[in-house]
C-alpha cells in the first residue's frame, strides 16, 4: 500500500459520512444474510482495506453487465471506482487504449500477482482456435488463462460468463463456453443474470473487499444470499397465484389489477434470483411489477427453455 489512508478518510473526501457508511454496511450485511454483528466487523474491515486490484475482462458480451454495474444504488460506482477498488483494467471505462491499455493490465497483474480479483463478463468462444473473439490480437481463451493464473479468485458476471448465455444458445455458432469450463483451479463466483442486479454485482465485490474470500455459494457457484430463493418465493403477486387469479393478456383486467403472470409465461417459480426482493434501479420496479413475466435470465440454458410466453407445464 502506498499511503496510510483509510477508506473512511477516502469516503469522507467523497462526502460520505461515517453514519451513511455504517448504514451501507448494515444493508449489505442484511442482503447477504450475515448476522447483525457482522455489519460492524465489515465496517471495520472496509475502513482499513487497501484498494484491491480488479482486472475486468470482457469477452463475448454486450456490455450490459458493465452498464448494470454503473446502475448500483447502494454503492455508487463512482465511489467504487475512486474509493474502494482499483479498477486497473476495464476496456469500456478505462482511459488508455491499445498498447497503453495492455501495458496497464500487465503492470497491475504483476504488481498484484496472487492478490487481484479477476472479473469476467461474456462467454469464451473456443471453436476454431478462438478466431471468433480476440483483442490485442490474442484469443479470449489465451487471455483468460493468462489473467486467471495469478488471480486470487474469479468472478463470472452475467449469465454469459457464468453459464454460456446467449452466445451458447443453440446452435452455439462459435463454440461459446462459460468461465467455469476453462478456469478450474481458482475460487470461482458465478453472478448470473442478463444482466445481474446492480447491487448484487457490487455486493459480491464488496464482500470480496471485506473478507477476501468468496461468499457462501450454491452448487452452481452462485452466492446463496442472492440466489437462494426464487423470484416467485418473494413475488408480490404470489397471493393471486394461490387464488388462481391470472392475467391472460398484457392489457386485460387481470393485467391492470396486477394478477399473477404465470399463464403469460412467467418463469419466476424456477428462477433463483433476488429481483422480487431487491427490485431494480433504486427499487423502482422489477419485471413482474412492470407487467412482464420473468424471463428466467439468471438460469443456465434459459434461452433454450422453450419460449418466454409459453406457460410452464
Amino acid at each position: 500500500m502506498d499511503r496510510q489512508d483509510t477508506l473512511i478518510d477516502r469516503l469522507a473526501r467523497h462526502g460520505v459520512t461515517r453514519r451513511a457508511f455504517l448504514k451501507y454496511c448494515a444493508t449489505l450485511a442484511s442482503l447477504m444474510a450475515l448476522p447483525p454483528a457482522a455489519a460492524r466487523a465489515m465496517a471495520e474491515a472496509l475502513a482499513k482495506a487497501e484498494r484491491p486490484s480488479v482486472i475486468w475482462l470482457s469477452f463475448q458480451e454486450c456490455t450490459g453487465c458493465t452498464e448494470s454495474l454503473t446502475r448500483s444504488h447502494t454503492h455508487g460506482v463512482e465511489a467504487l471506482i475512486l474509493e474502494s477498488l482499483s479498477l486497473d483494467y476495464h476496456h469500456t471505462l478505462q482511459a488508455a487504449s491499445g498498447e497503453a491499455a495492455e501495458r496497464a493490465r500487465e503492470a497491475a497483474m504483476k504488481r498484484h500477482a496472487g492478490r487481484y480479483l479477476l472479473v469476467v463478463d461474456g462467454s469464451i468462444p473456443v471453436k476454431d482456435g478462438g478466431v471468433y473473439s480476440t483483442f490485442a490480437g490474442i484469443s479470449n481463451l489465451d487471455l483468460l488463462l493468462e489473467a486467471a493464473r495469478d488471480a486470487a479468485a474469479v468472478v463470472a458476471v452475467g449469465t454469459c460468463a457464468a453459464f454460456g448465455g446467449l452466445p451458447a444458445a443453440k446452435p452455439n455458432p462459435t463454440g461459446a463456453v462459460p468461465v467455469a469450463e476453462i478456469v478450474r483451479d481458482k475460487p470461482l463466483i458465478n453472478v448470473p443474470g442478463c444482466p445481474p442486479i446492480p447491487e448484487v454485482i457490487t455486493g459480491v465485490l464488496a464482500h470480496w473487499l471485506v473478507f477476501r474470500t468468496p461468499p457462501a455459494l450454491d452448487r452452481l457457484g452462485r452466492p446463496r444470499a442472492f440466489y437462494g430463493d426464487t423470484v416467485h418465493d418473494h413475488c408480490y403477486r404470489l397471493p393471486f397465484y394461490f387464488q388462481g387469479k391470472y392475467a391472460k393478456s398484457f392489457d386485460d383486467e387481470g393485467a391492470r389489477k396486477g394478477w399473477c403472470l404465470y399463464e403469460l409465461g412467467c418463469k419466476g417459480p424456477v428462477t433463483r434470483n433476488a429481483c422480487a426482493r431487491m427490485k431494480w434501479n433504486g427499487a423502482t420496479s422489477f419485471p413482474v411489477e412492470s407487467g412482464h413475466g420473468c424471463l428466467g435470465c439468471s438460469e443456465p440454458g434459459f434461452w433454450d427453455a422453450g419460449g418466454f410466453y409459453r406457460p410452464m407445464s
Binding site: 499511503r3 489512508d5 473526501r13 462526502g15 463475448q60 458480451e61 456490455t63 450490459g64 452498464e67 448494470s68 454503473t70 446502475r71 471506482i81 475512486l82 477498488l85 479498477l87 486497473d88 476496456h91 469500456t92 471505462l93 478505462q94 488508455a96 487504449s97 491499445g98 497503453a100 496497464a104 471453436k127 473473439s133 483483442f135 490480437g137 484469443s139 489465451d142 446467449l166 452466445p167 444458445a169 443453440k170 462459435t174 404470489l238 397465484y241 393478456s249 398484457f250 393485467a255 391492470r256 389489477k257 396486477g258 431494480w280 434501479n281 433504486g282 423502482t284 420496479s285 422489477f286 419485471p287 411489477e289 412492470s290 407487467g291 412482464h292 424471463l295 434461452w303 419460449g307 410466453y309
Partner: protein, 584 residues
C-alpha cells in the same frame, strides 16, 4: 508493407462498446494515408434466432447491445408487428417514444463524459486548476447549482487523493500531457467533476425505463405494445398465503408516472445546464477539430418518433453534403440497402463481390485472418467481422450528425434555431459540422431536442389515461394460430448511434430468417468490393499523429462516432438454415 510507411495499431480501442481494432498506415510526416477498421468479436445471434418464436426475438436481439439496451428490442417488435400487420395503441406509441428518447439522453450523456471526454480532457491537468476560477468558468456557461468553489475544491481533493495513492485504476496510462490536450486546467477540472456527477445522475434517470420495462439495462418489451398495463387501483390481495403487505398493482400507476416526470425533469436539467454547455465550451478550444474527420459526406436516417405533431426524425438520405436534396429511402427495395462482404470474414454463395439485400442475406463464417496471437491483420484481404452495408452502392454515415443534418435540411424549426445559434456562438459555418467535433456537437444538440420533446409525450399519455383510454397492448394477432403461413416485414428506428433496422421472415409461426443492419455496421464497416472505405476509415485519413506511440487523434475521431461493435457485428440468414464453415 513498403519501407517508409509505418503501421499504427490500436487494439483494443477502449471506451467504446465492444471489440474494435484500428490499423493505420502513416507517411513520413506521421499523416494517416489509409486506415482499417476491424471488428474482432462475433456471436452469431441471428443464427441463434432461426426457428424460434418471433415474439421472443426482441429479447435475443436486445442482447446484441447492453449500452443502447433498448433499441434492438424496439426494432425487433416493430419488425414483427410490420410482418403481422399489427397497429399498436397510441399509449404504447407514446411510451415507446419516451423510452427511446430516454435512451438517447442517457446514452449520449454517458458517451460524452465516460467514453469521449478523456480524449479532450486531461485529468492530470485538473490538479492544477484553481477551484474558484473553475466555479467562475462554470457559472459563465450555465446556472448549474453545484458550480461552487467548494464543490470543485472537493472534487479536486478527491482526485488528488486518488492520484497520490499510486493506484490510478481506470485513469492509468492515459495519454496525459499529450500536446493535443489544450483545455486550461479549470476546464479540465470542471469536466472531471461532471464526469463523476454524470455517473450518479444516469442511474436515477433510467428509472423511466424501470417503470415501463421493469429494469434497466435490458427493459422488457412486447410485440403489440408495451408489457406494463396501466393500473389505477390495486385489487386488495387478502391476507392469504404469500401476502407481503400492500403494493401497487403495476409500476405504471400515479406514483410511476410521477417517477417518469421527475426523470424527465432531471434529464432536461442536466442536458441544459451541464452537458450542452460543457460540450460547446470544450469544442470552443478545439476548433481545428471542426475541420477534419469528416468521413464519407453521405448521411442516412430511417426516422423515428411516430405520432402526431412534435418531434419527429425524418427518414431520408443526403448525398455529398447536398442538403437541398433529401432522397427517399425504401427498406424493402432490393437495390437500395445491400450488404457486402468483400473484406469481411464471410462467404456468399454467389461470390464475395455481390451485395445482398437483407431479405436475401446469407451467413457463412469464413475466417481467413491470421491465427491468434497475431501482430497484424491481412488488410489486403479480409479483416473484420463487420460487413459493409451500402445504400445504392454508397457508404453512408448514420447517427447524430446524420439526424441533425436531416432535420436541418427538412427545415425543422427548433433544430435549425439550435444549430444556428450554437454555430454562431462558436463563430463557425454550417460546414464545420462535417467533422470530428461536428459529430460530437451534433450529438449534444440532438440530445436537447429529444429531451425537450419528452414532456409533450408524457402529457399526452396522462391526458389519455385521464380520459379513460388505458390501452397499452393490441391483443389481436398475439396468438400464432391467427398468423398467415408466411409473412415478412422490416422494423426500423433511430438508435443513439444511428439508423437501425431489423428484417424478419416468419414461416409457420417460426422465424425463418432474421437480419439486422445496425448503425455501427454502417459506420465501422470495412472496404467494399469497389474498395470504397467505410466512414471510420475515411474519417481517419489525413489525420496527423503528433506521437505515433500515443495516437490520441485516432481515438478522438473514432470516439466521435460512438462505436458499438457488439452491435456492428452480426450474422444473419433470412433464407436458409445455419451454414457455418471456417476456412482458416
Amino acid at each position: 508493407m513498403s519501407a517508409p510507411r509505418q503501421r499504427v495499431v490500436v487494439d483494443p480501442v477502449t471506451r467504446i462498446e465492444g471489440h474494435l481494432r484500428i490499423e493505420a498506415e502513416t507517411d513520413a510526416e506521421g499523416r494517416i494515408t489509409r486506415a482499417y477498421s476491424a471488428g474482432t468479436m462475433v456471436r452469431g445471434i441471428e443464427l441463434i434466432l432461426q426457428g424460434r418464436d418471433p415474439r421472443d426475438a426482441w429479447a435475443y436481439t436486445q442482447r446484441i447491445c447492453g449500452v443502447c439496451t433498448l433499441v434492438h428490442g424496439i426494432a425487433s417488435v416493430r419488425a414483427v408487428e410490420a410482418a403481422l400487420g399489427i397497429a399498436i395503441p397510441p399509449n404504447a406509441q407514446l411510451i415507446r417514444n419516451l423510452m427511446i428518447a430516454a435512451q438517447h439522453v442517457h446514452d449520449h450523456v454517458m458517451h460524452f463524459y465516460h467514453l469521449h471526454a478523456l480524449d479532450w480532457v486531461d485529468v492530470v491537468s485538473a490538479l492544477k486548476a484553481d477551484p474558484g476560477r473553475t466555479a467562475e468558468l462554470a457559472r459563465s456557461v450555465s446556472k448549474w447549482p453545484k458550480s461552487t468553489p467548494g464543490h470543485f475544491a472537493d472534487m479536486q481533493r478527491r482526485l488528488k487523493g486518488f492520484v497520490e495513492s499510486g493506484q490510478l485504476g481506470i485513469f492509468a496510462n492515459g495519454y496525459w500531457g499529450h500536446p493535443g490536450y489544450r483545455l486550461p486546467p479549470e476546464a479540465n477540472l470542471m469536466a472531471v467533476a461532471h464526469y463523476i456527477e454524470a455517473l450518479a445522475w444516469q442511474r436515477d434517470v433510467v428509472k423511466l425505463h424501470a417503470v415501463f420495462g421493469g429494469k434497466n439495462p435490458h427493459p422488457n418489451l412486447v410485440v403489440g405494445g408495451v408489457p406494463c398495463a396501466v393500473s389505477l387501483e390495486a385489487e386488495p390481495r387478502g391476507r392469504g398465503p404469500g401476502f407481503r403487505g400492500g403494493r401497487p398493482a403495476t409500476a405504471l400507476d400515479a406514483d410511476g408516472l410521477q417517477t417518469v416526470r421527475e426523470a424527465i425533469r432531471s434529464m432536461r436539467e442536466f442536458v441544459d445546464e451541464v452537458y450542452l454547455p460543457d460540450a460547446l465550451a470544450i469544442a470552443a478550444h478545439y476548433k481545428d477539430w471542426f475541420r477534419q474527420g469528416e468521413g464519407v459526406g453521405n448521411f442516412l436516417c430511417f426516422g423515428d418518433f411516430p405520432g402526431a405533431g412534435g418531434m419527429r426524425i425524418p427518414a431520408g438520405a443526403i448525398l455529398d453534403r447536398d442538403l437541398a436534396t433529401v432522397h427517399p429511402v425504401d427498406l424493402e427495395a432490393e437495390g437500395e440497402i445491400q450488404e457486402f462482404v468483400a473484406h469481411a470474414w464471410y462467404a456468399y454463395r454467389d461470390g464475395k463481390e455481390r451485395g445482398l439485400h437483407p431479405y436475401r442475406g446469407e451467413t457463412e463464417f469464413a475466417y481467413t485472418g491470421p491465427r491468434p496471437p497475431y501482430e497484424h491483420l491481412d488488410v489486403e484481404r479480409d479483416y473484420s467481422w463487420i460487413k459493409s452495408p451500402r445504400w445504392k452502392g454508397r457508404p453512408m454515415e448514420v447517427g447524430p450528425l446524420a439526424r441533425v443534418l436531416l432535420l436541418y435540411a427538412r427545415g425543422h424549426e427548433s433544430a435549425r434555431a439550435l444549430v444556428d445559434a450554437s454555430l454562431r456562438r462558436l463563430g463557425l459555418p454550417l460546414e464545420a459540422l462535417y467533422s470530428t467535433m461536428g459529430r460530437t456537437a451534433a450529438r449534444a444538440l440532438e440530445t436537447k431536442l429529444f429531451a425537450d420533446a419528452m414532456p409533450g409525450w408524457l402529457d399526452a399519455l396522462t391526458a389519455n389515461i385521464e380520459a379513460g383510454d388505458l390501452r397499452t397492448f393490441e391483443e389481436r394477432r398475439w396468438d400464432p394460430t391467427t398468423w398467415p403461413k408466411r409473412a415478412r416485414g422490416a422494423g426500423f428506428m433511430e438508435a443513439p448511434r444511428g439508423a437501425l433496422a431489423h428484417w424478419v421472415a416468419i414461416e409457420d409461426g417460426r422465424i425463418a430468417g432474421y437480419q439486422t443492419v445496425v448503425p455501427s455496421t454502417w459506420n465501422a464497416g470495412p472496404r467494399d468490393a469497389a474498395g470504397r472505405e467505410g466512414p471510420y476509415e475515411a474519417a481517419l485519413k489525413g489525420h496527423r499523429l503528433a506521437d505515433a506511440k500515443r495516437p490520441l487523434e485516432i481515438l478522438r475521431t473514432i470516439h466521435s462516432f460512438d462505436p458499438c461493435i457488439a452491435c456492428a457485428v452480426h450474422v444473419l440468414d433470412t433464407e436458409g438454415g445455419e451454414r457455418v464453415r471456417v476456412q482458416a
